[in-house]
C-alpha cells in the first residue's frame, strides 16, 4: 500500500562534504573566533563515521572545495523531502557555488531535482524545518519570501509556513526535530517566540523539548530500522545543561556529537549533512 508522509526520520543515505582548509580563515561567521582546522576536520570525521558505521547510512562524501570555505555545511545547499530535492539558492553570495556538487550528487541518487533559479529568491536549508507533516521556513538574513514560495511549490503536499527569524543565523540555529511531533527548542526569547508562532500556524500539535542553550537545540533525529529513535545531539562538554535534558529522552538512542569547532563558524549538527530516504521513492 502506498502511503505518503509516512516514516518521519527514515533515512538511507547521507550527503556530506569535506572541510576545506579555507574554512579556518574564510568561512562566514557571526563572531570572530579562531577555528582549529585540525580539530574541525576531526569532528567532521567523527560525524561521518557515526553516520556510516554506527548508523549504517550510505554516505556520499563530496570532496571539499577550497574556493567554497563553507562547503562543509551541505544542508544549506539542498532540501530533500521524499523523492524530491530542491537545490537552493543560498543567501550568502559566496556560497552559491556549493549547490553544483550537491545537485550532481542528488541527481546520482535519482532524486527529482528542482532548482531555484529565480534571482530574487534566496533560501538556506538551515532555515527549513521539516516536521514530518509540514514545513516551517525561517525568514532570515539568508532566506526570503520568494525562496520560501519556491520551496512551497516544490513540496506541494505540505503546508509551508513562514517564521520570522529575528535573531540567530537560521531557523534551525535554535530548533530542530527531536522525534515525530517533538520540536527541540532553545530557551531564549526569540526561540520561544518562534515556537509560539509555529504552534499557532500549525494544524498539528507538537510536543516541545526546551533546552537551555539555543545552539544545543539543533540535533539530528532519525528513525532507523533495528535502531529505532536515534538522536545526535550536543555533548555535555559543550552544553552541559542541555545535554542533561537530552539524556532524559529514554526512548532514544542518544549519540552525543562534538561540534566545538564547527560551531565557531555557525555550523550546527544538522548543517553538515543532507539526509535522504531512498526507500521513500515510489
Amino acid at each position: 500500500m502506498a502511503g505518503l508522509m509516512a516514516g518521519f526520520g527514515h533515512y538511507t543515505h547521507a550527503v556530506v562534504r569535506g572541510i576545506p582548509v579555507s574554512l579556518a580563515k574564510e568561512a562566514l561567521r557571526s563572531s570572530q573566533t579562531e577555528v582549529d582546522l585540525a580539530k574541525a576536520v576531526k569532528e567532521q570525521e567523527a560525524y561521518v563515521e557515526v553516520l556510516r558505521t554506527r548508523l549504517g547510512l550510505e554516505v556520499v562524501e563530496l570532496p571539499a572545495d577550497e574556493s567554497l570555505p563553507d562547503c562543509v555545511f551541505v544542508e544549506d545547499a539542498a532540501v530533500v523531502c521524499g523523492d524530491t530535492a530542491l537545490i537552493t539558492r543560498p543567501g550568502a553570495e559566496s556560497r552559491r557555488g556549493e549547490t553544483e556538487a550537491m545537485k550532481g550528487a542528488l541527481k546520482d541518487l535519482n532524486l527529482n531535482i528542482v532548482e531555484m533559479t529565480d534571482e530574487n529568491a534566496t533560501l538556506d536549508g538551515g532555515d527549513v524545518l521539516f516536521t514530518g507533516r509540514e514545513f516551517f521556513v525561517g525568514l532570515s538574513k539568508r532566506t526570503n519570501q520568494r525562496g520560501a514560495e519556491i520551496l512551497a511549490d516544490a513540496f506541494k503536499d505540505y503546508a509551508v509556513s513562514t517564521v520570522p527569524v529575528l535573531e540567530g543565523l537560521h531557523l534551525k540555529s535554535f530548533c530542530s526535530m527531536g522525534g515525530p511531533g517533538l520540536i527541540v527548542i532553545g530557551s531564549s526569547e526569540p526561540a520561544q517566540k518562534a515556537l509560539k508562532i509555529m504552534q499557532q500556524m500549525s494544524d498539528h500539535r507538537y510536543d516541545k523539548l526546551t533546552v537551555p542553550d539555543d545552539l544545543a537545540a539543533n540535533c539530528i533525529y532519525m528513525n532507523l530500522p533495528s535502531k529505532g529513535h536515534v538522536l545526535l545531539h550536543c555533548t555535555a562538554e559543550e552544553f552541559p545543561e542541555s545535554a542533561k535534558v537530552f539524556e532524559k529522552l529514554k526512548d532514544h538512542m542518544l549519540i552525543p556529537m562534538s561540534n566545538l569547532e564547527k560551531v565557531k563558524v555557525d555550523g550546527a549538527l544538522t548543517c553538515c549533512s543532507v539526509l535522504i530516504n531512498k526507500k521513500a521513492n515510489i
Binding site: 508522509m5 524530491t84 506541494k156 515510489i282
Partner: protein, 927 residues
C-alpha cells in the same frame, strides 16, 4: 406535489421540508393522485426516487428537531394539504444539478421551493444518508460559486440565468474514516478527484501517483494485463497536467493492488488526500488591511497594507496565505468574532500570550458579495466543526445585519445520526470518470440529460431503518476524543430532550423530564421564558490558545457572528457585550439557579446508567439531567450557549479532603449534594499536585485559579467528559486516573457523576484515593496550609464492578494495595476570601480543556459565576506531571504560575495548591 400554501411558505424551512417529504411520500404511494395532476407531468420522474425513498435515520432525527421548531403546528395541518394541492397553480422550474460524477440530474421543482427541497431530492437520488457534509452550489452573476441556502427559496437565490446547480462537498471531514458509509466516502472521493484535477488541491507528483493508483483500483478494479490496454489509464484523469510518466507510475502501483475492493481503495485514497495541506480549504482572495502580525514579512520596500493574500476557511479555522505560503492561522478558538462590512471582512482575535488586548484584523475582499460569502462560509464552518448544535438565527438583539446562520446539522450531530444508520451497505455503481474526457466547466455545464439510471437507488427499501432514538448508550461510545466526546454528549443531551412526544412545547417537555427526576423542577418553567431573552449574549471565555485547539481541546467555542451586511452599518463589536449587562439578564440568571435536582434521584439514575454500561453512561446521564439547559436551547438560544456548556466539576473535589479509598466515594456524593444548593462554594482554587508512582517520580498538578470580572451572563452548564484511553497495567495509569477524575466531574445539578467517575476509575485500576481534594479552605486568609501525609490505598479495580449501584461498597474490595503518600500544600492569596459565604454566587458555566504531552497533562477549568450582579471568571489549571526523572517542583510550580500569568495577564493568581504524591515502595521509603 411541492405546492405550498402561502401560510406554509412562511413557516420555517425545516417544516416545509418535512412537509414536502411527506407530500412526496404520499404522492408516491398514491399514484392516482399523481395522475390527478396532469398539469405537472414533469414531476413524475422526480417522484421516483421519492417513492423509493427510504425513511432515513438522518431525516427522522432532523424531523424531530424540526418538530421542536414547529411544534405549534398540529398534525391536522399536515393532513389538510395534500388533497387540494393540485388545485393551486404552481410554477414549476427545471433544475439541473451537476453531480460529483459529472453527470447531470434534472428535476422539476416548484418555483418557490427552498434550497433544502432540492438538496434532499439530490441526496435521495444519490442514495446518500450522510448528507450533511454536502451542499449545493450555484454560480452568481459574477460566476462566483455560492452555497445554496437551504432555508431560502430557490428563486430568491437564483436571480438570473438558468437554474443550474452543482452538488459538492461542503464540509470536508477531517477524518473520512469516521464516515459511516462507503457510499459517502465514494462521493467524497469524487469531489477530491475533481479538486485534484482542477488544481484546487495541489499535490506532488508522488501524491498524484498514489491517489491516481487508488482511483484506478476503485474504478477499474484489479489490474489485468490481458484485458487492459497499455494505455488504459489515459482515459482517467489524475492530475491537472497528466503525463505519460505519471500514468506509468500509476500503473506500476495499480498492479500491486490486486484484490483490493473499491471501498478499500477509496479509503486509502482518502487517507492520503486528507493529509494534504489544502484538503478542505476553501480559498478566498483578499487584501490585507493593516499589519498582520510580524509573520508577514513584506518584501523590500513593500508595505504589508494591501498585500494580496488568500483566506482559507477550513475545519480548524482560518488560514492566511500569501502565494503558497501560510503566513498566519487563526484557529476557531482564537477567533472571538467575525464580521463584515461593505467589502471588508473582520476577525476579532483573542489576545495571545504576548498581547494584552483583543485585536481586530481586517481584510479587503473584492466586493461586498465576496465579503458576505466569506463571512457565511466562516459561520458555517465554525458551526459545523466547532459547535455541538447550530445557533439559532439572531432574534431579538440583532435587528441589524444578517440573520444568516448555519441551519444544518453540525458534524457532531451528523456523526451521531449516522452512527445509527443500519441499512445494509447500499449497492452503488462507481461510474467511470468519463467526465474527465470532456471539458466541463466547473459550474457543471451540461453533458447529458437526466441520468437517473446511472445512480439509481439500489438500496433495498424495506431495510433502511431507523434506530430508535434514545438508544444513546450504544452509540455514544464510539468516539474517543475529547472534543468529539463533548460534542456527542451535547448531542445526546439534545436528543434525549427531544425524545418526548412532539406535541409538547419544548419548555413543557423539559419540565416533564425534569420532574421525573426531582420534585424541585417546577421552577424550570419560570426559567424558560427568560432564557429566550438571553439569546445573543456573547459568551466569552479566556482560553489558553495552546490548549484550546487541537484534538484534545474542549470542543466548541462560541464566536460572535456579526454582520451588518445589507445596510452596511457596522455594528460595533461590543454591542452584545453591552447588552449582557442588562438587569434582565441578571435576573434570568439567578432564576435559573433555582433549578435543583435532588441528589437522591440523581444517584439512582446514575446507578442505573452504570449498570447498563460503563463510561459513556455518564454522557447519557448528563443528557437527561440537563433538561433545563436543554429547554433553553430549544427556545432558540444561539448555539453558542450550548457549546459553552460544560460541567461544573470542581465542586466535589474541592470540598473534599484527601482521604483513603472508599470514603472518597461517599464524600463525593455528599459534596455533590452540596453542590446543588445555591450555597455551593463555587469558588475554586488552584492546586498543584505532585504525585509519584514508581519511585521518586512525581506528578505535579497545579491549578491556578484566577479571577476576573466579566459581565457575561451564561448558563448553567453541561457536563463534559473525556474518555481517555487508560493504560491498564503500568504505573502511568495513575496519571490517567487523576485526569479522568477531573474530567468527569459532576455538574452543578447532578451529584452522582462523581460517583460514576470513581467507578470508572476503578475499572481502570485507578487509585481512587489519589484524587486529591482540596478542602474548601478558600476562605482562609492568605496562607499556606500543609496537609498531613496520608497513606492511601490504590485499588486496581477491575472488580469494582461498575454494575453495582453502590459503588461505595465496591470500592473497598480486596485489591492489591499500593501505598502512596499524598501531600497537599495550598498557597492562597488574600483576596480570595473577599466574597463571603453569604453569596456564593451562581454558577453560570464551566468548561474544561485538556491538553496532554508525553509527561504532563494540563487540565484547564474555566468556570463562571455570578455573585451579586458581578460575574466572575475563574480559570483553574491543573497540571499533572508524571515522570521518571527528578522534577524540581519549585521550578515547575514557578513555571506554571508564570505561564498562567503570561497567558492571562489580566487575571490574578489567587491560589496555588501543590499536591504531591509519592508511591511508597519498600525499597525507597518516602522521598
Amino acid at each position: 406535489m411541492t405546492t405550498e400554501s402561502g401560510a406554509d411558505s412562511e413557516a420555517k424551512q425545516p417544516q416545509e421540508n418535512k412537509e414536502t417529504e411527506k407530500g412526496k411520500a404520499k404522492a408516491a404511494s398514491q399514484p392516482s393522485q399523481v395522475a390527478a395532476e396532469p398539469a405537472l407531468p414533469q414531476n413524475q420522474p422526480e417522484q421516483l426516487p421519492a417513492a423509493v425513498g427510504h425513511s432515513t435515520p438522518a431525516r427522522k432525527e432532523q424531523e424531530q428537531q424540526e418538530e421542536d421548531l414547529v411544534s405549534h403546528r398540529s398534525s391536522t395541518s399536515r393532513l389538510s394539504r395534500s388533497p387540494l394541492r393540485g388545485v393551486k397553480k404552481v410554477k414549476i422550474m427545471q433544475c439541473k444539478v451537476t453531480l460529483l460524477d459529472g453527470l447531470d440530474f434534472t428535476l422539476n421543482v416548484e418555483k418557490r421551493a427552498k434550497g433544502q427541497f432540492l438538496f434532499d431530492k439530490v441526496c435521495d437520488h444519490l442514495n446518500l444518508l450522510e448528507k450533511d457534509y454536502f451542499g449545493i452550489t450555484y454560480r452568481d452573476v459574477e460566476n462566483q460559486k455560492n452555497w445554496l441556502d437551504p432555508s431560502k427559496e430557490l428563486k430568491k437565490q437564483i436571480r438570473t440565468g438558468p437554474w443550474n446547480f452543482a452538488f459538492n462537498v461542503k464540509f470536508y471531514p477531517p477524518d473520512p474514516s469516521q464516515l459511516t458509509e462507503d457510499i459517502t466516502r465514494y462521493y467524497l472521493c469524487l469531489q477530491l478527484r475533481d479538486d485534484v484535477v482542477s488544481g484546487r488541491l495541489p499535490c506532488s507528483f508522488a501524491t498524484h501517483t498514489v491517489l491516481g493508483s487508488y482511483t484506478a483500483q476503485s474504478e477499474l478494479g484489479d489490474y489485468d494485463s490481458e484485458e487492459l490496454a497499455s494505455d488504459y489509464l489515459s482515459e482517467l484523469r489524475f492530475a491537472p497536467n497528466q503525463t505519460k510518466e505519471l500514468e506509468e507510475k500509476v500503473m506500476e502501483l495499480h498492479k500491486t493492488y490486486k484484490g483490493m475492493s473499491p471501498a478499500d481503495a477509496e479509503m486509502h485514497f482518502l487517507e492520503n488526500a486528507k493529509k494534504l495541506s489544502m484538503y478542505g480549504v476553501d480559498l478566498h482572495h483578499a487584501k490585507l488591511v493593516g499589519n498582520l502580525y510580524e509573520c508577514l514579512a513584506p518584501a523590500e520596500g513593500e508595505d504589508s497594507e494591501g498585500v494580496e493574500i488568500m483566506l482559507g476557511v477550513c475545519a480548524s479555522g482560518l488560514l492566511i496565505y500569501r502565494d503558497r505560503l501560510r503566513i498566519n492561522r487563526f484557529a476557531w478558538p482564537k477567533i472571538l468574532k467575525i464580521s463584515y462590512k461593505r467589502n471588508n471582512f473582520y476577525i476579532k482575535i483573542r489576545p495571545g500570550e504576548f498581547e494584552q488586548f483583543e485585536s481586530t484584523i481586517g481584510f479587503k475582499l473584492p466586493n461586498h458579495r465576496a465579503a458576505k460569502r466569506l463571512w457565511k462560509v466562516c459561520v458555517e464552518h465554525h458551526t459545523f466543526f466547532r459547535l455541538v448544535s447550530p445557533e439559532a438565527p439572531p432574534k431579538k438583539f440583532l435587528t441589524l445585519g444578517s440573520k444568516f446562520r448555519y441551519s444544518g446539522r453540525t458534524q457532531a450531530q451528523t456523526r451521531r445520526a449516522s452512527s445509527q444508520i443500519i441499512r445494509p451497505a447500499p449497492f452503488f455503481e462507481r461510474t467511470s470518470s468519463k467526465r474527465y474526457n470532456m471539458s466541463r466547466s466547473l459550474d457543471g455545464a451540461p453533458i447529458m440529460e437526466n441520468h437517473e439510471t446511472l445512480m439509481k437507488d439500489n438500496a433495498v427499501d424495506g431495510e433502511a431503518k431507523v434506530i430508535a432514538k434514545g438508544d444513546i448508550i450504544t452509540t455514544v461510545t464510539t468516539e474517543k476524543k475529547a472534543e468529539e466526546e463533548k460534542a456527542e454528549e451535547g448531542d445526546a443531551k439534545k436528543d434525549t430532550a427531544e425524545t418526548p412526544e412532539p406535541a409538547a412545547t419544548s419548555p413543557l417537555r423539559q419540565d416533564t423530564k425534569t420532574k421525573e427526576d426531582e420534585p424541585a423542577a417546577d421552577e424550570t418553567k419560570e426559567v424558560e421564558p427568560k432564557i429566550t431573552e438571553a439569546a445573543g449574549y456573547l459568551v466569552k471565555y479566556v482560553v489558553d490558545s495552546m490548549t484550546a485547539d487541537g484534538p484534545t481541546s474542549s470542543g466548541p467555542h462560541g464566536i460572535s457572528l456579526s454582520t451588518t451586511m445589507d445596510d452596511d452599518v457596522f455594528m460595533d463589536g461590543t454591542l452584545r457585550e453591552v447588552e449582557e449587562k442588562t438587569p434582565e439578564s441578571q435576573d434570568e440568571v439567578s432564576e435559573r439557579l433555582v433549578v435543583k435536582v435532588s441528589p437522591g434521584a440523581m444517584r439512582q439514575e446514575v446507578s442505573q446508567a452504570i449498570s447498563d454500561k460503563k463510561g459513556t453512561l455518564i454522557i447519557l446521564k448528563d443528557a437527561e439531567d440537563k433538561s433545563d439547559t436543554e429547554g433553553k436551547e430549544k427556545s432558540a438560544v444561539p448555539g453558542e450557549f450550548k457549546a459553552d456548556e460544560h460541567v461544573m466539576r470542581m465542586a466535589s473535589k474541592e470540598e473534599e479532603i484527601p482521604r483513603a479509598d472508599t470514603s472518597v466515594v461517599t464524600e463525593a456524593q455528599t459534596t455533590a449534594a452540596k453542590m446543588l444548593s445555591p450555597k455551593v462554594e463555587i469558588k475554586t482554587d488552584s492546586m498543584t499536585q505532585i504525585k509519584g508512582i514508581d519511585s521518586p517520580k512525581k506528578a505535579m498538578a497545579s491549578w491556578i485559579s484566577e479571577e476576573v470580572k466579566t459581565e457575561t451572563p451564561e448558563f448553567i452548564s453541561m457536563s463534559t467528559k473525556e474518555v481517555k484511553d487508560m493504560k491498564t497495567s503500568d504505573g502511568l495509569q495513575e496519571r490517567a486516573e487523576i485526569f479522568t477524575f477531573k474530567e468527569v466531574q459532576s455538574e452543578q445539578s447532578k451529584s452522582s457523576l462523581t460517583q460514576i467517575t470513581v467507578s470508572e476509575s476503578s475499572t481502570t485500576s485507578l487509585v481512587v484515593s489519589t484524587l486529591e481534594c482540596v478542602s474548601s479552605s478558600q476562605k482562609a486568609p492568605a496562607g499556606q496550609e500543609e496537609k498531613p501525609v496520608i497513606e492511601t490505598e490504590a485499588l486496581p479495580a477491575k472488580s469494582a464492578g461498575p454494575s453495582s449501584p453502590d459503588i461505595t461498597a465496591v470500592a473497598t474490595k480486596d485489591m492489591p494495595v499500593i501505598h502512596t503518600e499524598t501531600k497537599t500544600i495550598t498557597y492562597e492569596a488574600a483576596e480570595v476570601e473577599t466574597n463571603g459565604d453569604a453569596d456564593p454566587g451562581v454558577l453560570l458555566s464551566a468548561q474544561t480543556i485538556t491538553s496532554e504531552t508525553t509527561s504532563t497533562t494540563t487540565t484547564t477549568h474555566i468556570t463562571k459565576t455570578v455573585k451579586g450582579g458581578i460575574s466572575e471568571t475563574r480559570i483553574e489549571k491543573r497540571i499533572v506531571i508524571t515522570g521518571d526523572a527528578d522534577i524540581d517542583h519549585d521550578e515547575a510550580l514557578a513555571q506554571a504560575i508564570k505561564e498562567a500569568k503570561e497567558q492571562h495577564p489580566d487575571m490574578s493568581v489567587t491560589k496555588v495548591v501543590v499536591h504531591k504524591e509519592t508511591e511508597i515502595t519498600p525499597e525507597e521509603g518516602e522521598d
